[in-house]
């Protein structure tokens, strides 16, 4: 009894497998869809910050410096070049000086030639509390990033309206915080 029962099971199983075998071994797949695959990933990175006081805007003779500059080496390799679509900088400033400031960020190539200036420049009004500025490098300007070897930061201090000068004992500060948002599209290249 048991034998015949299992014989039936075996026959049914064999029939099932035959159906499976002859049904065909694949359903429709389209590997060309990979050409349309886009993986959008966004990464945030901390950048530079400043805490500048009165002496930072004065020379050795305590005279005002109209333009204060600094350079940062750009550790950029080309690995991400095909995938980077946009960069968005967030800059938060706070200024207790009675002066307006303008911050300019310039990209320099390996020969020290300026190749790109972030637009717009960041204007920091006198005695301003926390201000957030967002600057975008659009897709068409991304290649400049990969030719950049140095970022140049220049702070332009406007002259005072009443002709007064910053004193070395001035307790005012110019603070800046920044971050970058990098928008990648990991697609088939």
């Amino acid at each position: 009894m048991a034998v015949s029962y299992f014989m039936k099971i075996t026959k049914l199983t064999a029939a099932a497998f035959l159906i499976l075998f002859f049904q065909g071994c694949t359903k429709d797949v389209d590997f060309n869809q990979l050409d349309d695959a886009n993986i959008h990933a966004t990464y945030i990175s901390t950048l530079i910050y400043l805490n500048l006081a009165a002496p930072d805007f004065l020379d050795d003779f305590n005279r005002e410096i109209a333009v204060t500059e600094d350079l940062v080496q750009a550790p950029i390799n080309n690995d991400s070049k095909p995938y980077l679509e946009k960069v968005e900088f967030t800059v938060i400033t706070e200024n207790t000086f009675s002066r307006n400031f303008r911050l300019s960020i310039t990209f320099y190539d390996a020969f020290g030639t300026p190749i790109y200036v972030l637009q717009p420049m960041i204007n920091v009004p006198e005695n301003s509390s926390e201000l957030t500025t967002i600057i975008e490098i659009p897709k068409q300007d991304i290649p400049y990033i990969y030719n950049t070897k140095f970022f140049g930061f220049a702070i332009f201090m406007s002259p005072s309206i009443d002709g007064s000068a910053i004193s070395i004992n001035d307790a005012s500060t110019f603070d800046l915080k920044s971050s970058a948002k990098l928008f990648f599209n990991f697609r088939k290249i």
């Binding site: 071994c25 797949v29 993986i39 530079i48």
Partner: protein, 456 residues
Amino acid sequence: MRRLSWFIFLVYAIGFSQNKQVLYDFTGLPQTLLLNPGAEVDNKFHFGMPMFSQISAQGGFTGFSAYDIFADNGIDINDKIKAAVNNYGTAEFILFNQQLEVFNGGFRLPNKDYLSFGYYEEVDFLGKIPRDVVDLYYDGNTVIDRRYSIKKLAARAEMLGVLHLGLSKKFNEKWNFGVRAKIYSSVFNANTKSNSGSFYTEEGTQNIYRQHLDNVNLLMQTSGVFFRNGEEIDASYVKSKLLFGGNLGLGIDLGFTHHYSKQWTITGSILDLGFVNNSKNTESFLYKGDYELEGAQLNFDRNNPQNYWSDLKEDFDNSILSDTLYKSFISFRPVKLNGSASYSFGQKQDDCRYLIDDGFYLNKIGFHLFSTVGAVHSYMAATFFYERRFSKHFQTKLTYTVDPFSFANIGLGLSANIGVVNLYFAADNLLSLNNIYNAKSASFQLGINFIFKDKN
């Protein structure tokens, strides 16, 4: 695109199995001795067809199938990728295992013990990918305070040759024990396990964000991957390393068969209880430490210009120890455990319903548990099976397996004896045959043996 198709086909369609649930304890095939050295065989002697006695490998990925992504069903591929990422577990693993039996033989000793021996080549890869790594790649790191951990990140890869010699000994009518000694010769080995560390971003105090690498401890050990003496990798190099010119190791398999009663049988085995001493061409990479970055503070000091980038790099190098080690290390083989309980029934009768062979049952049902235990990853598989002997010349086995790849893995084994020639074929994941792209794993084994039975 064609290459990708071929890769997917190879991984999903021509996979063989490390868990050989169909082959395990199947009709006394000589290959069952490799899965349980204490298996019972009633051969006088046997030998496998060189290079064709068993070819074996497995491919699988627990995360998603090729069909999940590439189905031509009108759904945008990006939506399918998103769904696959959403369904991704805490950690999924990808594995590939391949074995090629170069030679295999055995014979019965005068004291009735069965001595078997052989040599096979094995390639094994297993990678465990944590969800945090997938999320970091797929979404980025914009979620503040989210920790992306590499704790579950682990991988092993190795290629080795295995020379083995085993003995199956019948102690009495109820117990049969077996042991197999193995010598491993490793071509290459790479492994990373027990890693820790996480990356996260939080709101800063000096700057908008502060970013952390927290408690990083990452070690990757390699042998036979990097070469300092200008050795060239070609076929003769691989051959020489497979044939005991590589890093050597020892292992042992143990197994038993117990006839609890006339119809109930219990078997068990532990395989690859062994190690390889990696002493040649070793190179290991260690990263350890904590690092936090709030950004570079520009000081606009004309008299003391700073190289901010090199300062940051120096700070990073001081915080995260990065070391390359060239010392020997021991790698343990992933241990495989098998256990089964089966019930035989349905004795063969002639036309007058007289028993033809009192100890010969036509049917066997049972339960088989497989587990692989390793430092990189461990997993289990459970199988129900039904074995049917149509005659002494033709046997079949049907299996239903639940494993990390599938809850509905149906397998089938066939073994045919034509004179002294034995042909066997075993395959699983047959439900995926109608659409191999939808299989997360697949396996089959086949081979040719020459089996000479005892006349009595």
